[in-house]
Symmetry: C2
Subunit: 182 residues, 2 copies
DNA sequence: TAATCCTGACTAAATTTTCAGTCAAACCGC
DNA sequence: GCGGTTTGACTGAAAATTTAGTCAGGATTA
């Protein structure tokens, strides 16, 4: 992928994290990326194309975050993986907010839905696999879905200021123990 | 509050539920409310003023429509109350989508946060009270928060087309049983 | 130099916001 | 109760602004 392209996408994540998908203006994006608006149209078909690619990019980021998990025990690994999205560091927060925005936008933008659905399914599958490894046999698919939904919900509450990260992490930790623990 | 004003706000909720906060056009709102665009500026300072009032309005609605529960058993009552937001009827869907939009908007609009926080807290308290009645003694506040977050997450997934209502209800029902049941 | 990358300047369309003015009802001194 | 006056609710139309998207051509690099 071209250097410029990623430069623009990185800027897009920043803008989305700051103003939302709703607030993403091509003009502002150009300024943030330090390029002209025309260049954006050179690299992407249109605004919606930027959004789509940004979604991929965000998704990619999220995946790479979750790949850093080291724990040996699958249950611990699962917990670590889920908790990764609830970390108050600039990178994670930015990505998590952007990701939340894309989910929220998909409610009204049907074009985003398919991509979102695929990622969501993938994520569920990953969690389900870990649950399996951890020896959970009682409908692990449902538990997986429960947990991923919970992370999304906690994430949104955190970003909208209705809960602290610490509390969110506490709820999630406890949930893993209750739903998947022994 | 003037009759016209509420008429406009009601229309705003409908428009927001259909097109989202970002998709609210003053013009379309006027048509939906059956008034002229100028009247909107007569009653509200500007577009952003309408949005703000509309989101307050939605916030109010969200509180009032959870009160209709009838079941005798507190656990059943709890389940009914939580499931209320996961019903595929026009009224509920509209309200639920609008409420989701409010939450999503609060991520970027700090003015909305206080109102949202209050409602969320109230909701948690209601659920916690029912858990108490149901004989849950092990950190009911945390369980309450877990459940309300879960409803929000499921709601958003449903509206963005990543899950069916039926599946969402299944997950929630099971969650209530697991977390609060015997 | 030819392909690729990139920009300033621009346009068309969409959208918000203003404004001059209408109309009906309330108010007031008589 | 009655002309005259003020006020609040409301509108049509147009101005002002915002925003996505285009295009002709300049720079860069292979």
């Amino acid at each position: 992928m071209s250097k410029r392209r990623t430069q623009i996408l990185r800027a897009a994540v920043r803008v989305i994290a700051q103003d939302g998908v709703r607030g993403l203006r091509v003009d502002k994006l150009a300024t943030e990326a330090g390029v002209s608006t025309a260049l954006i149209y050179y690299h992407f078909k249109d605004r919606s194309g930027v959004l789509h690619s940004a979604l991929d990019h965000i998704n990619h980021n999220a995946l790479s975050y979750t790949a850093i998990t080291l724990a040996a025990d699958p249950l611990e690994q699962l917990q670590e993986m889920l908790l990764l999205e609830l970390q108050d560091t600039d990178d994670v927060r930015e990505n998590s907010i952007a990701w939340g925005e894309l989910r929220a936008s998909a409610v009204f933008d049907h074009d985003l839905r398919e991509a979102l659905r695929a990622t969501t399914r993938q994520r569920n599958a990953d969690v389900e696999a870990l649950l399996h490894q951890a020896g959970v046999t009682d409908d692990p698919a449902l538990t997986a879905e429960h947990l991923t939904v919970l992370v999304e919900g906690l994430s949104e509450r955190w970003h909208s200021g209705s809960i602290t990260v610490e509390r969110a992490r506490e709820i999630l930790t406890r949930a893993v123990r209750t739903l998947a623990g022994q």
